[in-house]
């Protein structure tokens, strides 16, 4: 670099003469702007109103109880299919944690009636279809994407995967081996490690908190998969969304042709009881790191709970609403003590989780925890100032439009509302209900849910940090990660 350092003033002032010359090259209308009039206050820019009616998603109920959400969208020659199954790891039998996940994975890899797993893979990859499965706590999701021209052949494999998987023994073994290796490696990823243990602690004794271990994987056999599949994979327990380059009538016929004769058994598996708020405690997991990972959280309102809406705003204000949210502003911007920090609120129809997290260098762990606890406690002590509240509500209302950016997303939203058993008008009433949230609602929500003595606080950090925490907070339970 040969450039000389420039004086501070120069670096921020444009030579106006040069500007004028350049301007001649641009349309004359703007030459007037060359004198650089002050820019408008960004808060005073006026916007045209935005109106948007999301396209209507068609709901179809087949005779056997299978539910479909259909939304054609002809922009690209693609079809996207998502099947959501009322299942999940909450139904893992005690001692066989991992069964739900291995069932889903082996459905995808272990072949279907008339085809080996390898042949399924070959066929799908040659037609460049993608097929992903994920097993969550309370749903199994099968996502399939195929070019329009291959829909018939692709759908045949997709439907057989759900209805008639073969569960080939060698693919189950592969799945178990890979899961076991994944467990061996969790300790290497401090964030994964922390959130896995936090998930266990926050759910107390509930089956929702049980973790997959080497031992639980070892006990799982092919018969267990077959039984699990039979229990959960049937038409009354599945909702499918189909979007893309399709006609509604044709696709209904296609689905009926493949799934129509599938039947459901009597009875419905009961989900395990909801988690109970555990006793508050401080937990410490030792790992030799230069940076601690801290998670603090509580059980929180469900989506059906009227406090859901205040909690959405509360979470935004506390730590998920961008750089200005309180935790981010204080811990990262003001103190420079973290790169990643903030809060999270995830609600289901029946319960929710709320918490805050931070990754900070070992020496600042105690300080950062104290600040975050202070910020959280303040939510119950003082009402959110009206300007801050208005801004949070405005942000949530304005960004709502991003829930509807593709046909796939729109249809899937509808599907999930039914899957979670939420009222049909959940999305319609969401905005008005957020708009009505008051500072008092937020304070009450915090008082009800964020009792300081009920907090689950987990720190993953080094030995020295453990001693600091012990000295400062007095009562700490050391835990070891279970794999």
């Amino acid at each position: 670099m040969t450039l000389k350092p420039i004086s501070k003033n120069q670096s921020f002032r444009l030579p106006v003469i040069v500007l004028g010359m350049i301007w001649i090259l641009v349309s004359s209308e703007w030459v007037l702007a060359a004198s650089l009039p002050p820019l408008r206050d960004p808060d005073r820019i006026r916007y045209q109103p935005l109106s948007f009616e999301p396209p209507r998603v068609e709901r179809v109920l087949l005779d056997n109880g299978l539910r479909l959400y259909i939304l054609p969208d002809k922009e690209l020659p693609l079809v996207q299919i998502k099947a959501v199954v009322q299942t999940g790891s909450i139904y893992d039998p005690s001692g066989q944690e991992g069964l739900a996940e291995l069932t889903a994975v082996t459905m995808r890899t272990g072949g279907v009636l008339g085809m080996t797993g390898d042949s399924v893979d070959e066929t799908l990859e040659f037609m460049a279809a993608t097929f992903h499965v994920s097993q969550n706590r309370d749903s199994g999701i099968f996502s399939f994407s195929v070019l329009k021209k291959d829909l018939d052949q692709g759908f045949d494999i997709f439907s057989k995967t759900l209805m008639q998987p073969s569960f080939a023994e060698n693919k189950l073994l592969l799945g178990k081996d890979l899961k076991s290796e994944e467990l061996r490696r969790i300790f290497d990823d401090p964030q994964k490690l922390a959130f896995r243990e936090f998930g266990r602690l926050i759910h107390g004794e509930s089956p929702r908190g049980r973790l997959v271990t080497q031992e639980s994987i070892r006990t799982i056999r092919r018969d267990d998969l077959i039984r699990f599949h039979k229990r959960f994979f049937h038409p009354k327990n599945i909702i499918i969304s189909i979007t893309g380059d399709i006609e509604s009538r044709e696709v209904t016929i296609l689905v009926d042709r493949h799934f129509g004769s599938w039947t459901s058994p009597e009875g419905k598996p009961e989900p395990p009881p909801l988690p109970q708020l555990p006793e508050g405690n401080i937990f410490f997991l030792t790992k030799d790191l230069p940076q601690s990972i801290v998670v603090i959280g509580w059980l929180a309102p469900a989506k059906r709970d009227p406090y859901f809406y205040p909690f959405e705003v509360l979470d935004f204000v506390v730590g998920s609403g961008g750089f200005r949210s309180r935790i981010f502003q204080e811990i990262r911007t003001n103190l420079g003590l973290a790169y990643s920090t903030g809060s999270f609120y995830s609600a289901k129809s029946d319960y929710g989780l709320f918490g805050a997290y931070v990754l900070t260098k070992s020496e600042s762990t105690v300080k950062v925890i104290s600040r975050i606890k202070g910020i959280l406690q303040e939510m119950g002590e003082k009402p959110v100032p009206s300007e801050e509240l208005n801004r949070a509500r405005m942000a949530i209302l304005n960004r709502f439009i991003f829930s509807f950016t593709s046909a796939e997303q729109i249809a899937f939203q509808r599907l999930m509302i039914e899957h979670e058993g939420l009222p049909d008008d959940f999305l319609v009433t969401y905005r008005p209900k957020i708009g009505k949230v008051s500072a008092e609602d937020i304070q009450n929500a915090a008082l009800r849910n964020l009792a300081p003595n009920r907090a689950i606080l987990l720190i993953v950090g080094n030995d020295k940090t453990y001693k600091d925490i012990l000295r400062h907070f007095g009562r700490v339970t050391r835990i070891e990660a279970t794999f």
Binding site: A33, L39, D288, Q291, F323, R324, S340, R391, R399
Partner: protein, 519 residues
Amino acid sequence: MKSSFFFSLHRQLRRFPLIDTARLFSLAVLLLLLFPSLILSQGLGERVQRFTLGNGLRLLTLERKLSPTISIYIRYRAGAVDEADGKTGTAHLLEHMMFKGTQTIGTRDYLREEKIIRRIEKIGEALDHEKAKGKEAAPAALARLADQLKTLQNEQRRFSISNEIDRLYTENGAVGLNASTGQDLTTYQVSIPANRIELWARIESDRMVYPVFREFYNERDVVMEERRQRSESNPEGKLLEEYLAVAFLAHPYRRPILGWPSDMSYLDIAYMERYFRTTHAPNNTVIAVVGDIQPSTVLKIVEKYFGRLTRRRLASPFITEEPRQSGERRVEVSFSAEPQMIMGYHKPPPPAFMDHVFDVIESILTRGRTSRLFKALVEEKRLAESIQAVNGLPGARYPNQFVLFATPRHPHGCIELERAIDQEIERLKQERVPDRELEKVKNQIRADFIRSLNSNAGLAGMLSYYETLLGDFHYLIDYADTIERITPEEILQAARTYLIKENRTVAMLVKKPLNSIQR
């Protein structure tokens, strides 16, 4: 609205700006995988409009009416490679500083604030100089300067309003507000409701010329935390950093984007301003706007706000060329984590034809369950937990690398894995790729392209990436034909020329025993 549950936390953790080396890599991979079918490409090529302002700024627009939203990418053709030695991390820290406001955003009285900022800079520099003396540093001077700095920082707070850029975007409904620094390019991206484009233009045109580096020293600490998170606590990050430092002897691709720790601790405002002025100029910028827009309206707004800015003389730094590699290089990293390895080869960057051939090789080796390395190492020999090839690391402005990442499955180790990978690479050099396998890979690349057209942000990202990197987004449009033409002989040739031992670097992470910690 969040639809996913607790599992999304992980992503949430990583979502904050800014550089995401990993994310940037995966983006590069994705970008390189994409290519259009004939009909779509012609459609796309015609639908994208390109404008060049008098000051050299290039604008790409693409109208998509699915929802009243817009995604916008701004890319500067400048990144970590453009930093001077000893100043590594400047490009990335600058990207953080670009969120600190401007002379008209984030201030109550800029004239008074500016005076304090200059004093902060002076005291901060003096403090750094004293600190740099190490053991020789005078404790009294350190304490006095630190105290002065703190007083000035508090004084500045009376005149500044923190995080105003984020506040403006957020309350106007923006999502995906982010930025990233790569070796080659720096990117600022956001998605906004369709009626808010003027807000974007107001903010971005202002910070392209008049950013104010508020809270500089705090942010320097934030970036140190980022390093602890991404590299010092993270075995993948650590291994990749050391791998690149060995794979490149002389070219700046050898340096971490985050910077080396001792450089990062002493980054200064003066150099950052110099870097900024010679890189962040309209004539070094590409903007892509995709979504519910009218190109003529967008052009008008962009002219109004960005047309004001003057063309600047750009840095044309001499970049050290990487000398030809003359033998295998091996590096071992001792870390308390399960073993993993990286293995890579030098090769030409895009738009070279050879780079396309390596995109195909990447797919043949590791794309999907039927790819060769997945099949052999994960399914059949059961040696590996994962294996992934990536063409085009760590950048694409200069000759780059074809790299393999692999994790062995216990009780197997990296050496066994290396041998098995070697066998498959040998096969590429000896046997013609069967027609059906090649056709499969071409089908996949074509379908990936179609899928990538499904999002405003994805499109804006791709269009701006190629326009910035190669000077013409049409690379994307022509990509299909080029991939379609690739023959098994050309793959043989590429493998024989580049995938040779003398041209490769191998890095292995070796498990360090845990000190006094029970697993």
